[in-house]
Symmetry: C2
Subunit: 337 residues, 2 copies
């Protein structure tokens, strides 16, 4: 309740809006490199932990068994924009497991990509394949098949695949994820609240393999590599996660979640990052993530200039006039920008 | 900076996100009936003051001269959804003044209505007519013609029409709107920051005519009546402003603004309302407006049940499962709901 203002939205001479939040950077042992706000409070990580949820896909043997390519593993970690190649990729994942879109339980929504939505609207309506979580769901389904369990109800907390995911999340975060901290995510699978600092630690472990058993460390490396090679599949055209991973390759994995959550790993530094904006604002979480990467990761001039556009975005109106900007607070950025 | 949490977003057993903000209800003399948070701080009212900006349209004689119908006056007060009849109405306003869409300076954006955007995308791209502010701009242009001034640059702060609008806003709010509190709105016209309580007072005066010279009081009544008769033109299908005015008629005028602003008038009670969510969240501002109407305005059971859906919306996921809810704090609602 007492998180500080971490991002200001400027217009003219005034601060028009303010975002409060918490952000934490830790290593794989949980040592805090930076903490702003209430870093131990439990938050629903939502889609930000998709890369962790996807560990089960690799560890179950499904990735090998079905010969999943890098872009398919990236889709399992993705909140994709529903562009044609995203949709085709998810359909291919399902086909490799002998399934089709009829088994997806994520629900349908219009593609996040406006262009893809408009194109689709000309000829049809969205299916579950267009849901930004369809790759994660295809991953759960592939894993279910590889584990030899009936995939029916794969999205329910009592299903073997969700129990396996919960175990992975408990191992990665070091937090106990009890039923009373479980809610339903937008795509109907469980989301378990975990302390923000433990989510950062989970991403530090995911980014380095430190503290993980060998099989899990290899699975994490395979997923990281897939995302670094195929960043377009992690989000989509023009999206923050895609642009940042394209820019930094294996040096940064970043993943957005609903309601102002962002998680990430900086493998060369052994650090993990977790961000929660109190009010659920994605614009602020993105700016904070960009500012934290700029603070911690050694960057060249081009990289700094790309990240600065995300950390300090200029706000333009419908005529393209500059009307304001976002400004990340010094507690996050470490210095006046 | 120290506004309280006024809306909580619940998911499962936890509060997932929190919105801070300020809200104030005053009469036409500025006497405060309810104040929550920092009610004297200046905020950019953005589109929430369109009904006040439209006073110039009526007072200039343009509404009479061009024979503007109720729906056209409602469009001048609107943030419309860009549905076909909105677009046609704005084109008609311009035609009545001998103009066309080429003079609109608001910029183009896709219709706020998803259905309208999809339909438009099948055959074309948006024009300035689809901009949610095009009715306000058409109003400025009609007023310029009636005032006998060149409409070129009508959106600039130094143009006669914007100077007239500023005078109206100063008269209505009782605030001095100096250049250093002026910023550029999304549609390129000036937006002047004014203290929240003075915006509430302006709406109390607008809703009652109290404290206004006779011509301005009549202009306000004409605009209120137009909105009450044609609420669909104030926003659009399924939108909050339209639904609330449809429900309550002349008993409530409500108007949304960007970045978590809402203003309104409750004419039977002589009260005005102004709301600003610190983080710019429209979902919270809507819930607060609904809760304040429920707190102050005598309602029948049907009206209460409709408003409760806005004051305490259930959050559903892509499969329609209930996953959470918004909850307005007691400081606003006056009682546990």
């Amino acid at each position: 309740m007492s998180d500080p203002v971490v991002v200001e939205v400027l217009r003219g001479n005034l601060v028009e809006s303010r975002h409060r939040g918490a952000a934490v950077v830790t290593d794989a042992d949980g040592a805090i490199a930076l903490g702003v706000g209430e870093v131990t409070k439990p938050i629903y990580p939502r889609s930000a932990v998709k890369p962790l949820q996807a560990l089960t896909l690799v560890e179950s043997g499904a990735a090998d068994r079905h010969g999943l390519a890098d872009e398919e593993l990236a889709l399992a970690c993705a909140s994709h924009s529903g562009e044609p190649a995203h949709v085709e990729g998810v359909a291919r994942m399902l086909a490799k497991a002998g399934l089709d879109e009829s088994v997806l339980a994520c629900g349908a929504h219009w593609p996040l990509s406006q262009q893809a939505a408009f194109a689709l609207a000309r000829s049809g309506v969205p299916s579950a394949l267009h849901n930004n979580c369809s790759g994660k769901h295809a991953g759960f389904l592939c894993a279910s098949c590889a584990m030899g369990v009936d995939h029916i109800g794969y999205w329910r907390p009592e299903h073997a695949i969700q129990r396996a995911v919960r175990e992975v999340l408990e191992n990665m975060t070091g937090a106990v994820l009890s039923d009373d901290c479980r809610a339903i995510d937008g795509c109907s699978v469980p989301t378990w609240a975990a302390p923000l600092d433990k989510l950062a630690r989970a991403f530090a472990k995911f980014g380095t393999g430190q503290g993980l058993e060998a099989m899990r460390a290899r699975a994490a490396e395979r997923l990281r590599t897939a995302c670094a090679r195929r960043p377009w599949y992690v989000a989509g055209s023009g999206r923050f996660c895609t642009e940042v991973i394209q820019l930094l390759g294996s040096r940064a994995l970043v993943k957005t979640g609903a309601e102002g959550v962002f998680c990430g790993a900086l493998p060369p530094l052994g650090l993990g990052i977790a961000i929660k904006c109190d009010d659920g604002a994605g614009r602020a979480a993105e700016a904070i993530m960009a500012a934290l990467i700029m603070r911690f990761l050694p960057l060249d001039d081009r990289e700094r200039s790309v990240l600065l556009r995300f950390a300090q975005p200029v706000l333009r109106n419908w005529n393209g006039f500059e009307v304001g900007a976002l400004r990340v607070g010094e507690a996050i950025s470490g210095a006046p920008q």
